[in-house]
Assembly symmetry: none
Homo-oligomer: 417 residues x 2
């Protein structure tokens, strides 16, 4: 099955955002064995949207568009679709009712202009959204099948995951593409490449691919087979080799995020966690609590951005601050102790450092110190993180979560961070 | 002058990377007044590459391709171009010499396969690179002008900046495109559309466009003129109308994020901020501290995820918790009071609610309560946020930051959130 993805939006053509929707959709389509042959981007122009639909349906089996289904005047994907199909539009009472209820539930008055979202090209089906107010449109009349979804990433993903991918999986018949993602942290991408070079060069089914981000390397194994079991059987021996070679840098063999893996480990141990954050400014707690059910193991965090609050809230000693400086192993140690005392948790972290762009506490941007405390365990890790403010904070989060993971699994500390 | 950008590379169609090259090129082209009408992506397939060139040259004045000029077997953009133009290729001695020297200078032996990069479709000019080994190609024979550059971002940017953009600037005459982005919060996208409908419908230069995300609507005005000053003069009166119509929902007329705008306001007032977070779990503090220099106004945050910690760290009363429930106006109020007392800040926020997916404290997912405290000011706002866990948290952050903004600017509270 061959597909084309049409991105609609002048903001893409002005370079204000990259076409990340097409990237995500392509990745998901590849995973179910759909070949994406083209991406196309057009602006908010009815004639060019219509031409893009017409061209796409002439050359592939499935056309997916994203964007231009909102309630404002520049949202004209449905007009472009109707024009390409040469059909009129009609207002659909079920959508109208859905929209009125959606607004009523939020305690808000619906602007009448929102009713444009209840318009549907005659002969199209629609998909009601959970998120947002833009119904998806489906054309399964003559020619290629066409799907139109919203451009807001969360809304697009909801319809892809809930409706379109299952639809296409059932239509695409006898081939499945299955992937396993093995995630590792505290290891450089080039080192992963060295350790897996022969697997990368020799393997065709499954294929081996790498994807690196701040402090993390994913290894994706993708196999094509007649069914899921057969694909899994192709992947299993290669996955076992990858895990053996990467060793304890691997934190998940089922594509969990590091915060999910840490949550799973804490829950299984029955341990609670708290933290004191300076350079990460609450983002580490934010990441831990992004996992549903985090209240089972996460107690709390103190974000102490000033020296005074480190002393007052966390009882970091003024002498330590004066002699060691605020970005130091000892302050990280005392911050972790302070968090553990304040929140009464089994484990605690303390993070201090320099997110940048400027130096701080006599230390250069990127310098990070992390303290870890548990019963009878107290250690500190320091390292210099690369990148800008956001990347330094992401590295610090990653290293801190990895300390918790290693403690829960009884693993040694990594050689470097 | 109208342009199309063709991205060549199967990695784009597999979703391994986003088309960031097209985004950057589009932004640069807009800045010199070139209208980008289409982005197209095709894989490493000679026939489809040729078709993409043929279609593009039929509908625009300038075609730019990126990717597929390397030395390996899957680099076939030059073959696709030659096929589209119906011309042969010839090896160019000047490029061959350049390649041999480039390798010699690196002290490496040039693989003979590299000589494919010395092939040029007959009648094309070439651009020798500083970075890398891939010469750019230029067709300025009949029909649209066409440029092919490498897909490695630094190599692409070098040729765009050094050769192509200056070329096009001199061809397109003296036109620039300038944009202004006005950002608003606490107002629905459809309401923005209603308020600006006549501007949207009547205006051509500047054009008006909307972009909505969780709790925020951006209005982008884009003008074309002979120079930057003239473009700004076209935008100014329309921007003034937009700001007047959207009123105090506007928090920035220069594309600041809400956390940047709040930081600017706090700094100008000399006020400090702290917060107590439950449902947002540290993400609000994380957002405030994502702005460099936040230490000038941000003191700290207490992330209290359990009822016990709300009592112990923030002194929320057990009676309030028992009678009102943990997700209530009164608990938000006491959390904000607790944060203000703990951190000694001028302003303080308290956030409690249900991020979901499950109900909590007898309240449904999406229920948010925010308390705000300052000298002589104490109020609480409750609302139901739409969407999943991440969106509910984003809405809660947005509403909380907006309370701070409104207090700093002396504005009334919004009618709804």
């Amino acid at each position: 099955m061959r597909a084309e993805i049409i991105g609609v939006g002048t903001e893409l053509l002005l370079g204000q955002i990259a076409n990340e929707n097409a990237r995500w959709m392509s990745e998901e389509l590849a995973a179910i064995g759909v070949d994406v042959l083209h991406h196309t981007v057009v602006g908010d122009n009815e004639e060019r949207i219509a031409s893009a639909f017409t061209l796409a349906r002439s050359r592939v089996d499935v056309v997916l568009s994203t964007g231009g289904l909102g309630p404002t005047q520049d949202d004209i994907t449905r007009d472009g679709l109707a024009r390409a199909l040469g059909i009129a539009q009609e207002r659909h009472p079920e959508i109208e009712e859905f929209l009125r209820e959606k607004f009523a539930n939020l305690g808000r008055l619906m602007p009448e202009s929102n009713l444009v979202q209840a318009m549907v090209p005659v002969g199209c089906r629609f998909i009601l959204p959970d998120r947002g107010t833009a119904p998806g449109l489906v054309w399964d009349g003559e020619g290629a099948r066409m799907y139109c979804v919203a451009g807001v990433p969360a809304e697009m993903r909801e319809m892809m995951t809930g409706t379109i991918l299952p639809d296409l999986r059932s239509l695409s018949g006898d081939v499945v593409i299955a992937s396993q993602v093995i995630r590792s942290t505290g290891i450089a991408e080039a080192r992963v490449g060295e350790l897996l070079q022969d697997l990368f060069e020799s393997s065709e089914n499954p294929t081996v691919a790498y994807l690196a981000s701040s402090g993390e390397v994913k290894v994706r194994l993708t196999a094509k087979a007649a069914d899921t079991e057969a694909a899994a059987a192709l992947i299993a021996p290669v996955a076992a080799l990858v895990v053996a070679r990467l060793g304890d840098a691997v934190f998940s063999v089922e594509n969990e995020s590091l915060e999910e893996a840490v949550g799973r480990l804490l829950r299984s141990r029955g341990w609670s966690l708290s933290m004191a954050e300076s350079l990460t400014g609450g983002t580490l707690a934010g990441r831990v609590t992004s996992v549903p059910g985090a209240s089972e193991y996460f107690v709390g965090a103190a974000v102490t951005y000033t020296i005074e609050e480190k002393v007052r809230v966390l009882s970091v000693s003024e002498e330590t601050l004066a002699t060691q400086g605020v970005v130091s192993a000892e302050v990280a140690h005392e911050m972790a102790q302070g968090a553990r005392a304040l929140f009464g948790s089994d484990l605690a972290l303390g993070l201090t450092g320099v997110a940048g762009p400027d130096a701080h506490g006599g230390q250069p941007p990127g310098q990070v110190w992390i303290g870890f405390e548990a019963d009878g365990v107290s250690h500190q890790r320091g390292f210099r993180a690369p990148g800008d403010r956001a990347q330094v904070r992401a590295f610090a989060q990653q290293a801190a979560l990895d300390l918790v993971r290693r403690h829960c699994e009884g693993l040694a500390l990594p050689a470097t961070w």
